[in-house]
Symmetry: C2
Subunit: 118 residues, 2 copies
DNA sequence: AAGTTACTTAAGCCAACACTTGACTTTCTG
DNA sequence: CAGAAAGTCAAGTGTTGGCTTAAGTAACTT
């Protein structure tokens, strides 16, 4: 049961990271963070065809990062924060574990610690 | 100049998200979070060939998520937290912006707000 | 009604990916 | 020294990804 939950989570994490690994899809997210936009507007922003944009939007919607609603003939897209949770949780979980470990093993990884800015 | 910096950052973000979008690479990260491991150990964990594992490790090293050192004939891999910064910064930046916007536009997105758990 | 706009869907193209196998190189071990 | 162990490198294979063009459909506009 826990296993099953984790599997589902893994798939969600897969989808979100994959969605966000593409520069054009990140550009869409950044644009929608400012305000909702239509499909054509997003296509113009990316400099690709509307068809390509629709495909990106499908990926973003499947990972619950974007939602959209069609009224009349124009589809308006907006951010849907739901999808971010899993990915962010995973990142944070790893980073927290790393930092704990790094604190404890400071000496072992001391080489890096010497380079101040890193 | 700012533009150039952002471009570099975009490429780094690209690499990290792509690295982390693969379930096997995430499994490597999770394993290394507990302790360093050899290439063979990681291969056994994933159930793929050593060659495939080496390829994953190259991706992880290019995105500065993992570092490794070879002593004798065995290569020991460990976590390198450097690569996480850009990706995490991007995620946090977006999420923060979304939340601000969601607070302001609560009424517009009210449908979702009504569904308590989301 | 005819044309334009906004999107949708399907098909195909080419590059990138995740693997594999097989041929090495290097480093231990008996 | 012979052989096993640990990893490296190169080539090949099947799949997926991002993009295009082309052919729709539905909703405005004139």
């Amino acid at each position: 049961m826990v296993k099953r939950m984790l599997k589902y989570e893994a798939e969600a994490v897969d989808r979100v990271f994959h969605a966000v690994a593409d520069a054009n899809r990140r550009a869409i997210i950044e644009r929608l963070t400012r305000s909702p936009a239509t499909v054509s507007e997003l296509a113009a922003l990316l400099g690709v065809t509307v068809a390509a944009t629709v495909q990106h939007l499908r990926v973003l919607q499947d990972s619950e990062l974007v939602s959209s609603e069609k009224v009349g003939r124009v589809r308006t897209c907006r951010i849907d924060p739901a999808g971010l949770h899993n990915a962010e949780a995973w990142l944070t979980r790893q980073r927290t574990a790393w930092e704990l470990r790094l604190d404890r093993l400071g000496a072992v990884l001391g080489d890096e610690a010497k380079e101040s800015g890193r």
